[in-house]
Subunit: 386 residues, 2 copies
């Protein structure tokens, strides 16, 4: 099979963009990605977005963005799987190009939180949960993650501040990423004293909801123009999986089946072992999610994911570097756009353009996008082509 490559990447700074609309944000990222791809013209647009129908009263975002970006006439759809929307959009773009039906696909992840404030945002985010059995009880994603974290800490005897390593690593890396929302390293004392959101989950165990857009131009290797000079990054593996929407319906709520299944599919497609993966962009909207993804993918045994963070093994020079550009925690969490940010950041690493955050000799990166507590997981392996 032919190689599907990332021809272009683009991203906006993540943050509170009060003055920019959903379409403005997406356009900025699209423009950068198409320019980076040497002007390749996309025939299809796959948008990863979760919240626009609620927060911006805007569905039909595919046609909206194609129109606003001057790409009139192209195919355009939104792909939605809650927080995994970006990863799911990337996968649809990948399938379209790999199948030969589409030569050049544009994948955009975008979220505009600041069209609303307060309870409206919590209510919109809660639509990722089982509406009739979870959200209706008033449970927000953060409250649910706190319950999960509490259970995990009890089962595995995690000490207070046992999850600190996730935030420390994220902020250390985010400090050197000019697109990150928080560009300041934090000390263990800051984590220890952080305000509680929902016991035991504190302010640093949770990623900030933020506006942002990221974009990718995908094509088949042989369609790249001869003038193309970017280092080549290939989408080498892709996998997606779903689990019960409601956390209480799982046999073992302390294991993210979908994180295992989807990563397993992607890794198998490449013919890799875990040792071959040079870095892992997990979906650390909550530190407990990061710990459980490390376990499900196989980087740690069950109940020991947090130890990798505590022991410094997820830092840039550790055993498995994670959140290398700050992750959801420090780069910020642009909702349904987050999975596309992961892909853009992984491409930067694999191009060798991550500067102070560069993972040495990175050849294979795993990115994983979650919807809810891994009710959906979409995993991709990106590979540097020499």
């Amino acid at each position: 099979m032919t190689d599907v490559v990332i021809a272009g990447i683009g991203q906006t700074e993540v943050g509170e963009h009060w003055e920019l609309s959903l379409r403005d944000l997406a356009f900025a990222a699209i423009q950068d990605a198409i320019r980076d791809a040497g002007g390749l013209k996309p025939q299809s647009l796959f948008v990863g977005n979760m919240l626009a129908p609620n927060l911006s009263r805007q569905a039909h975002v595919g046609a909206l963005l194609a129109d606003f970006a001057g790409l009139n006439g192209i195919e355009a759809v939104t792909v939605e799987a809650a927080g995994a929307s970006g990863g799911a959009a990337l996968r649809q773009g990948y399938l379209a190009v790999a199948s030969g039906f589409v030569d050049v696909a544009l994948v955009v992840g975008v979220e505009k939180f600041t069209d609303k404030v307060g309870a409206a945002v919590d209510e919109a985010l809660a639509t990722q949960s089982d509406s009739d059995f979870e959200a209706v009880q008033g449970m927000t994603p953060a409250a649910q993650a706190a319950l999960l974290m509490k259970r995990y800490m009890h089962e595995y005897e995690v000490p207070k501040d046992g999850f600190a390593g996730f935030a420390l690593t994220a902020h250390e890396n985010g400090a050197r990423n000019k697109h990150a929302m928080f560009r300041k390293a934090i000390k263990p004392e800051v984590y220890a004293k952080a305000e509680m959101i929902s016991d035991p989950l504190n302010m640093f165990d949770m990623a900030p909801n933020a506006d942002g857009a990221a974009a990718l131009v995908l094509t088949r290797r042989e369609l790249l123009p001869s003038s193309f000079t970017n280092p080549l990054v290939k989408i080498a593996g892709s996998g997606a999986s779903s689990d019960t929407l409601a956390l209480h319906d799982r046999k073992d709520m302390l294991y993210f089946d979908t994180a295992q299944l989807s990563a397993g599919k992607a890794i198998k497609q490449v013919g890799l072992t875990l040792d071959g993966i040079d870095f892992f962009e997990y979906h650390d909207t909550f530190s407990i999610y990061a710990a459980m993804q490390l376990e499900a993918v196989g980087f740690a045994i069950k109940g020991k994911g947090w130890r990798l963070a505590e022991d410094g093994e997820i830092s840039r020079t550790g055993k498995i570097p994670c959140a290398t550009m700050g992750g959801m925690k420090a780069r910020g969490f642009p909702g349904g756009g987050a999975g596309v940010y992961q892909a853009v950041e992984a491409a930067i690493q694999l191009r060798g353009q991550a500067e102070a955050n560069q993972v040495k000799d990175a050849k294979f990166g795993l990115i994983q996008s979650l919807g809810g507590p891994a009710s959906t997981a979409v995993s991709h392996i990106l590979q540097r082509l020499d």
Copy 2:
């Protein structure tokens, strides 16, 4: 390339299902489709849905439905392009199976309007329009269609009741479809006296919003079990296109570019001419849309689409039979699910199982799903395999 075939179909009756939830409706259709496919097990689920995030406070519908249908672990996403969501979900399912990445895909179109009533429904439907420039003015899709219809009638000198043929044909066919919402033929006098919704658009120029779910099981021909006995229907062509979201941004608002472009792609893939198409399932949420689709696809010249209806040429025995099972107008309009209903109905025709509504010797059917005033159009050609 291998043939992608429809192995199974399922649908619920369209109507006001006050007692059933979004997941109940979808499950009924999924169960029927999988049974009809002889128990083939899907690996991927593509859901066409538009309004659940607003009307049911439920995003993440892919994982929800996979879970509720007992398909735990499979890939599951929602594909959204307003009213064209169903067609867009079918296209993603088709690409996934055609590419070889997925062996068996389940495509479900579902909408549950009756979780809300009144203005909330109009507001949700208006998210298909350009939120910042159209919906914000208070314009609903029906009001917009009325303006379009008025302009069309003026430009082309259409007499009062010139659009009656669309409703008459739809109701005649719907009367014989046990899944249709309205199963009663109407007389010209009924159309002539119908209550005005937004002048000149009357109650019979507009399809009823309704609950319903339809499902398809897709696979590659060689993967069908030897026990499989259903007549074979292939997805022979697929095309999608987008246009400006706002109607006022078009050079010529009286021509549906996307209807032409997407149908053209699908027809070209098959290597057909228009003469080879035996019936056309258009997206008649408004009679003006039906007229303009007939023109854009090429069955009538510009300004004369309404004449096909008036002259009886869209009836079962006419030149180009349309809305053969009642269309949106009489079968009912299940929002983002509508495009999957079209595919199910076309498959019934091509299997030769349409009974009193059977189009004689039907071999090729064109279906077209629209989002907004053809801001998105997704077209497929379905083909009977002998």
